[in-house]
């Protein structure tokens, strides 16, 4: 399936579900009851029209048997998917630890792991040094100099 056709299908489903949700929005208790729905309904309709046009455009192209290049390339994720998934996972753990472990520890772990992910495990020592300096510098810069509060680390002076 071509990228654009798949995009058309996904956005069509999105448009449909958004419109359905918009129809079921509660009525306003002040003013016109339907007012909060008008704009979302228009957006939902627009999305459905756009996705159908995209699907139509793709089917016409297919009918003309155009060679698949660029935009029509078959949908396929490259090997980066692994790195991206690991980054997302790392970020989720970071979000979970952020308030509990404090800024410095959680950021050290997060950026350290990212650096390892980008540079390879062999360079873990330099990664650790960079991650530690980054988290300390940012913490001091924001918390002490700029007055932007960041979660403190339990049991340590910072």
């Amino acid at each position: 399936m071509s990228i654009s056709l798949l995009t058309g299908l996904v956005t069509f489903i999105l448009g449909m579900s958004y419109t359905l949700a918009a129809v079921h929005l509660p009525a306003a208790s002040v003013g016109r009851a339907n007012e909060p729905k008008i704009f979302p309904l228009a957006l939902g309709a627009l999305m459905i029209i756009l996705s159908i046009s995209l699907i139509g455009q793709e089917l016409v192209k297919k009918g003309q048997k155009e060679k698949s290049t660029g935009d029509n390339a078959v949908f396929k994720f490259d090997t980066n998917l692994k790195n991206i998934s690991l980054t997302v996972l790392n970020a989720l753990v970071y979000s979970f630890l952020f308030a509990k472990a404090g800024y410095v520890i959680s950021t050290f772990l997060f950026t350290g792991l990212e650096l390892v992910l980008f540079s390879g495990i062999k360079k873990w020592k330099s990664c650790a040094v960079i991650a530690l300096s980054f988290s300390l510098v940012i913490y001091i810069l924001f918390n002490k100099l700029l007055g932007v509060y960041l979660p403190a680390t339990p049991f340590i002076w910072i």
């Binding site: 002040v30 008008i38 979000s95 950026t111």
Partner: protein, 501 residues
């Protein structure tokens, strides 16, 4: 004359030592970020945003302005030296800048790009001084119906001008407007699309979407480039300057491209990239020796560089006077203004003239400082290019999370940041442009509110959107901007037929 006295007042603000310091810091940081491949001015302003949170509005705006045009100055460094543009606006600088480096003329290319950027920036700021007050005054006449039409026009133009598949541009726009409807409706108090999540009731902060798409999304995309290895950067330079002959070849292209860049920048949707490419093609067509373009013609660096810096100034006009950002970067700056409690729009010029004119005056000062930083210190600055991306990108990731946290002090936003970062990456994969979505997320709420205000005033009569001459003109402009690509294609076809026959 009024503008000049306001500008003088602006200079008294901008010349305060602290403000000079901020514009310098912003400019240097912006130059460094702008140089890095893949990181443009929008990412620069987004990542450095938390630095400004504790500043006053004047200092914050001046710093962000510095980052913005610093990134425009810096963007071309990587184009010239390693053929890797920092962002779209710097693409045109690779056409002749890199060939110049290959011929051993990197010094002249670096110098002319900084000189052209400087002249472009200053000339555009001069135009801005005279044009912004009349535009703001005109915009005061806008009622909710006119504003609604203006938002529609700005969004339609942006979506329509995206490269590639235009339907995808409009899908991106609609997606952004949908995101903007999430949260409690300001007029009726109805909860919309919150999925029962308490944190979503206050809506999704567009700064989160911006940081996610421009910083996280870029890092996700960069995994691939890192595997591709890195080009060697020239580190030793002779004197970074140009000869009299080179100057003579460049001066007119610079003077022509600056106003062109300014006006293209002021159009919604058409930003620095388009300005630079148009200026380049323009000069190529006007040149007596077009065959030299692409082989290292110095005016091929000068023209796009002047145009893209002028465009970055032009893009501030609709943002400041109408509250409609014309580009990704001005969108981020507008987000920052709103965070500071300032509502961009015509009234801003009346109520906060110190801030506005302080910013405009600082643009003159910033351009001078950046020219100084970028010419003698260019040799030192480009060493940043030899810092490996494998270190830079994790740091960008770290900075985006600090930025997101500093906006709301809520970890909930981290999850949104991750979600929209992945979304930005997927959108890039399926060739859906991000800019229309970003603009829509920012103006979506205002757009709906103007629609409903007008709707209420007219007691449910949709005719109000077509009644005044201003809204009619805007409506026609919207239609033209949607049809423009078709008209252009038809004209090209017609021409081709003529020459064929």
């Amino acid at each position: 004359m009024e503008s000049l006295s306001l500008l003088l007042h602006g200079f008294t603000v901008a010349l305060e030592p602290m403000n000079i310091m901020w514009v310098t810091i912003g400019g240097v940081l912006g130059t460094v970020i702008g140089m890095l491949p893949g990181l443009g001015p929008a990412t620069g302003v987004a990542v450095l945003l938390p630095l400004t949170f504790t500043m006053g509005p004047v200092a914050a705006l001046i710093t962000m302005g510095g980052v913005y045009y610093g990134a425009m100055f810096g963007g071309s460094r990587a184009s010239i030296l390693i053929n890797t543009p920092g962002d779209g606006a710097a693409v045109a600088a690779t056409f002749d800048g890199y060939p110049m480096t290959l011929k051993g003329k990197a010094e002249a290319a670096l110098a002319i790009s900084a000189i052209a950027s400087f002249i472009g920036g200053v000339l555009a700021t001069v135009i801005m001084v005279f044009i912004s007050v009349p535009v703001a005054r005109f915009a005061i006449k806008f009622g909710p119906a006119e504003y609604f039409q203006l938002f529609v026009f700005a969004l339609a133009a942006t979506a329509s001008m995206t490269e590639g598949n235009r339907i995808k541009g409009f899908i991106s726009m609609t997606l952004g407007l949908m995101i903007a409807t999430i949260g409690i409706d300001g007029q009726s108090g109805v909860k919309r699309f919150t999925l029962g999540i308490l944190e979503l009731e206050s809506g999704i902060d567009f700064l989160i979407v911006i940081i996610a798409v421009y910083a996280l999304g870029e890092v996700f995309k960069s995994f691939k480039n890192i595997a591709e290895g890195k080009k060697k950067v020239q580190k030793d330079f002779g004197r970074i300057w140009i000869s009299m002959k080179e100057w003579k070849r460049s001066v007119w292209p610079i003077l022509r491209s600056s106003p062109l860049g300014f006006f293209i920048g002021a159009l919604p949707g058409a930003g620095g990239t388009m300005a630079a490419l148009m200026a380049y093609n323009n000069e190529k067509q006007m040149s007596k020796h077009p065959e030299e373009f692409g082989e290292g013609a110095i005016e091929g660096v000068a023209a796009p560089e002047a145009a893209n810096n002028a465009a970055s100034v032009g893009a501030m006009i609709p943002m400041l006077t109408l509250g409609i950002p014309g580009s990704g970067t001005t969108a981020v700056m507008m987000g920052a203004l709103l965070m500071l409690g300032l509502q961009p729009g015509p009234l801003l010029f009346q109520q906060q003239s110190t801030i506005i004119w302080g910013l405009i005056a600082s643009m003159f000062i910033g351009n001078i400082i950046l020219a100084v930083v970028n010419i003698p210190l260019a040799g030192a600055l480009v060493r940043v290019l030899s810092v490996p991306p494998r270190i830079l990108y994790p740091i960008v990731l770290g900075l985006s999370f600090v930025g997101a946290f500093a906006i709301s002090y809520s970890v909930m936003d981290f999850y949104l940041l991750i979600l929209f970062g992945v979304m930005g990456f997927v959108m890039g994969k399926v060739n859906i442009p991000a800019t229309p979505m970003i603009l829509a997320v920012i103006v979506g709420n205002n757009m709906e509110q103007s629609f409903r205000r007008a709707y209420k005033i007219a007691d449910g009569d949709l005719g109000i959107f077509f009644r005044s001459p201003i809204s009619l003109v805007l409506f026609i402009l919207t239609i033209v901007s949607i049809l423009y690509p078709f008209i252009k294609a038809a004209v090209v076809k017609g021409k081709a037929k003529k020459t064929a026959s």
